[in-house]
């Protein structure tokens, strides 16, 4: 069996993935699985998806040789896959277009979404406006405050934003609440899940929609650099931008795949969001994967300066790639991510998302250990406009 043949027909990546939901959602997930299976084999559906990516999102996104940054970090050449240049400012839109087209195909006029940083919420609100659907976005009350500009953007786009005050008031609680909405309105509603996690078939279909990132790199890297990279680095929240760039590279065995989790205040402090680096397998939000949990199996609170990485679980395919040894996972702390954020601003004139800054920070560590003619490809998953309030606050500046 090849690593890329997964998941199996029940959504399993080895021991991970699966469908761990209450009975009420089983029929809806089966309907989605069947419909997606038809859609992906339907040339008209795929042609429309590609048309939208090209003309609405602005794909292909460029790959950019960050020469000044490479020089500064001293060592390997750093290339950036510019997902920050997509419409709405992150990779999230690749997935929401795919799912909105599925929703339309299934005759659902109402879409719901969960969001952490607000990027997936904005991308969902955007496609709902684009296709004329009602949109409700669940967002942790804490994140509503942290990501105020994105809340306003969603409202401008016509979405209803519902702050979630249960549990830790962040992304995981927003996901719980979106699931509860879906259970209640399952017949009229399509749940646009924002990352490569959740019950089958979500991890698979989100990955498939995001794989456009890696496929473009496969042709862009030889054009620009004359060859494929030595290492591909991406940040990992739920894991969608990472799996999108990793997956097409899995068969290219010489290419190292490095996922970067949020180390928060440091793994040793316990205040982080790094289940692959410091968690253990368990079941949450409809799938089995590495999780942050205590000895009683309760999910523990996560910490990260970046709302989009502040999640206690991770998509099941990453757990599988970790165990299989095909990808490596490391953690980058808040302060390291913040330093990389400023580096990219100053040396390249690019303001990156705090999530993506974690990937840049890992490149900063790796580059000096490699030779000057080696290549690191970093997935710059989003732009940092949404984060300027957070960065100002961390720097002690009032805007």
């Amino acid at each position: 069996m090849k690593l890329t043949d997964l998941p199996d027909s029940h959504g399993h990546f080895g021991p991970y993935g699966g469908i761990f939901v209450a009975e009420t959602l089983m029929a809806a997930l089966e309907e989605l699985r069947v419909e997606y299976d038809k859609a992906r084999q339907d040339p008209a559906f795929m042609a429309e998806f590609e048309y939208e990516l090209k003309h609405y999102v602005g794909r292909p996104s460029p790959v950019y040789h960050a020469k000044r940054l490479s020089e500064q970090y001293g060592g390997a050449q750093i290339y950036l896959k510019r997902e920050d240049l997509n419409h709405t400012g992150a990779h999230k839109i690749n997935n929401t277009i795919g799912q909105a087209l599925l929703a339309r195909r299934m005759g659902k006029k109402r879409v719901i979404a969960e969001t952490g940083a607000g990027q997936h919420g904005v991308a969902s609100a955007t496609v709902a406006a684009r296709y004329g659907m009602e949109c409700v976005v669940y967002m942790g009350a804490e994140d509503v405050i942290r990501q105020a500009p994105n809340v306003f953007r969603m409202k401008l786009l016509g979405a209803t934003v519902v702050p979630v005050s249960s549990g830790s008031k962040t992304l995981k609680d927003a996901l719980n609440e979106a699931m509860r909405d879906w259970v209640t309105n399952v017949e009229s509603t399509f749940y646009i899940l924002g990352t490569a996690a959740g019950p089958h078939p979500y991890p698979m279909l989100v990955r498939d929609f995001q794989c456009v990132i890696g496929r473009e790199c496969l042709t862009q890297m030889p054009e620009l650099a004359g060859r494929q990279p030595d290492a591909v680095i991406a940040c990992v929240g739920g894991g969608s931008n990472a799996i999108g760039i990793f997956h097409p590279y899995i068969p290219h065995e010489k290419v190292r795949l490095i996922g970067v989790e949020a180390g928060g205040s440091g793994i040793a402090s316990g205040k982080h969001a790094a289940p692959l680096s410091a968690g253990s397998p368990g079941v949450l939000h409809g799938f089995r994967s590495y999780l942050m949990q205590d000895e009683n199996g309760q999910i523990i609170e996560t910490h990260s300066v970046s709302a989009g990485l502040d999640y206690p679980g991770v998509g099941p395919e990453h757990s599988w790639l970790k165990d299989a040894g095909r990808a490596e996972y490391v953690a980058i702390n808040d302060d390291e991510a913040m330093a990389a954020f400023h580096d990219l601003c100053r040396f390249e004139g690019i303001i990156p998302a705090l999530e993506s800054s974690h990937a840049v920070a890992q490149a900063k560590k790796l580059a000096p250990t490699l030779k000057k003619d080696q290549i690191i490809l970093v997935n710059l998953s989003g732009r940092g406009d949404k984060d300027i309030n957070t960065v100002a606050k961390v720097s002690g500046i009032t805007l």
Binding site: I19, A27, V186, E295
Partner: protein, 268 residues
Amino acid sequence: MSRIGQTFIALKAHNKKALITFITAGDPGKGLTVPLMHALVEAGADIIELGVPFSDPMADGPVIQRASERALANKVGLKDVLAMTADFRKNNTTTPVVLMGYANPVERMGYQTFAQAAKAAGVDGVLTVDIPPEESHGVADVFKAAGLDPIFLLSPTTPESRVEQVAAVASGFMYYVSLKGVTGSAALDTDEVSRKIATIRRHCDLPMGVGFGIRDAATAEAVARIADAVVVGSRIVNEIENASENELIGRVKALVQDLRRGVDAASK
């Protein structure tokens, strides 16, 4: 035969329907769960469902979410729930206890270890909300081998073609969730439920419990006319939330006695 099976047979012999009552273990206090369990039995409950607190109760509405949060604040975990059941068994060896919760705490303990510990503590059935038959693989078998009844849900969205598949792994009783939605949702259409139950009975001969949306004697009576068991959760948890500690037992008993009258009225 399991305590659950025996309970349904005994009730049937007396032409009665079962009243199943749910509380969250550790809510409102660690030491109050066992007294509450005895009070439920004294007031007329036939089976007790004991909620295992979980940090992310995805299938529950606000009332049971809050109960779970209170229990977690009291530091109650799966091991404590087993200890409470063992304590309850010191004075009650007949009333079945069903643990209801989510997969992860059980997964963390290990299915085998949990099954043996649960049996030893006097647990009779286990309902893990987020383990459907498709994922139950060995789990249901491990439970059965330990002498526990694995209990499963059916819902208004369950296609008829699936009922047999669920019935094949389930034992004890079948739990029909009468509404699309989370626990604590309102409005229950008994005609609709009645039609659905008739369909299910064609594929499943386990006793049928119906839950979600039952809040008083009248709804309990209506459901008892069409099902073998009436399951009440959020309404009781709501009473617990609103009662002060010294009125707690009295208020819960009064409520359950009222529900019992409703259930019994259906058999007259």
